[in-house]
Amino acid sequence: MQSSNGQWVILVSFIVALLLSVVIVPRWMMYFRPEWVTLILIYWVIALPHRIGVGTAWLFGVALDILLGVPLGVNAFALSIVAAVAYALHQRMRMFAFWQQSVIVFVLVGLNEMLCHWVKSLYADLSGGLYFLLPALVSAIIWPWVMILLRHFRRVFSVQ
């Protein structure tokens, strides 16, 4: 068994997620943008928990920080914790129905947003509000399609 089989599929999905994170959309749509990087991270941690873990999540986070122009470590911090929680839930997630999975995803993405917000509040004066819930909601709604798509690619390319 080649342990690096299909690694590129994970990488490509991650790059596509990064691209979708910065694609230019009308201003009103920005509030509804799903957290693409968090979504694909959750999928890979659940599907390949022995392969994708908090270390990979941390690297994803650093890459996202550089792309977005925020201080290094903001998203790295949040994604590491999200990956740890997703790992703890990975066996149960596989047995849940789609809607149940979406609820968990909503919580995880909401957690990601809150953690990012907390880290940013350490150095900047931030306004409050529940706006972070909107991306979490949209992410949870599109989760089933994201999951099915990535699962399809995982099976087709035998990613292990």
């Binding site: 691209l19 509030y31 908090v54 550089i66 122009g69 201080p71 470590g73 790295a76 740890a84 150095y123």
Partner: protein
Amino acid sequence: MKGPSVVARTIGLCVLSLVLVFADYRTGVLTPLRSTLSAVAVPFYWLVDTPERFVNWSADTLINRRDLLADNEALRSEAIVLRAKMQRLSVLEAENSRLRELLNSSEIVSDDVLVAELIGVSPDPAIHTIVLNRGSSDGVYVGQAVLDAHGLMGQVTAISSSSSRVLLITDATHAMPVQINRNGVRAILEGVGRLDQLELRHVPATMDIQVGDILVSSGLGRRFPVGYPVATIVSVSRDPGQAFAMIKASPSAHLDRSRHVLLVFDSIVRSHDAEL
């Protein structure tokens, strides 16, 4: 996962992340690393910009000859009008120089500009930053002023070799010193996180300020060069019970529409006016 437990690893990485955040925000230690790594981000923004660029390219390439000639003619007329205004401008500049000399102030040297193109915007609607396709290899520096054809847009906050990130004046964390064009009265203009609105805070109710007044950069912060239009006052409300007036202004620059911007190389020699 083999090795140290998940919890231990997570805690370790979290602590590392917080240390990085502190290092990046408080000290300049990570700036060279950021700068190098940001260069990798440029292809992402470039790729994401492709649809828009393609649309612009098609519009330019697939235009018919008649429209092209009409555009040409319109641009030629505009160029002649602008050149005529430039002649007047150089006369005014010379006169200004002579008057400043009379007042024993030092000379103002005019600014060089560099054209840049917007390749990305911050995906977070609460943060107003844009990414330009010019970087340190073009001479761009942190703190450099950016403007479009209509007014000041913001300042450069981070650079890599071929791109730079600009904080717009409408960002909630941005404030700049301005003065009213009409009477020279000075104030601080702050962003409130809205693209169409800025606020003048802590302005006494007795200050001479009206709707329609144009605000220009006063140069006092040593960040933005003097004399560029920034905003126009849209409302002044003086509540008798309050010590300060509530003043709202609308930015002059087309912050959500401009694709081409100018980076200003500030070579102004600050003067100490006799009036001050």
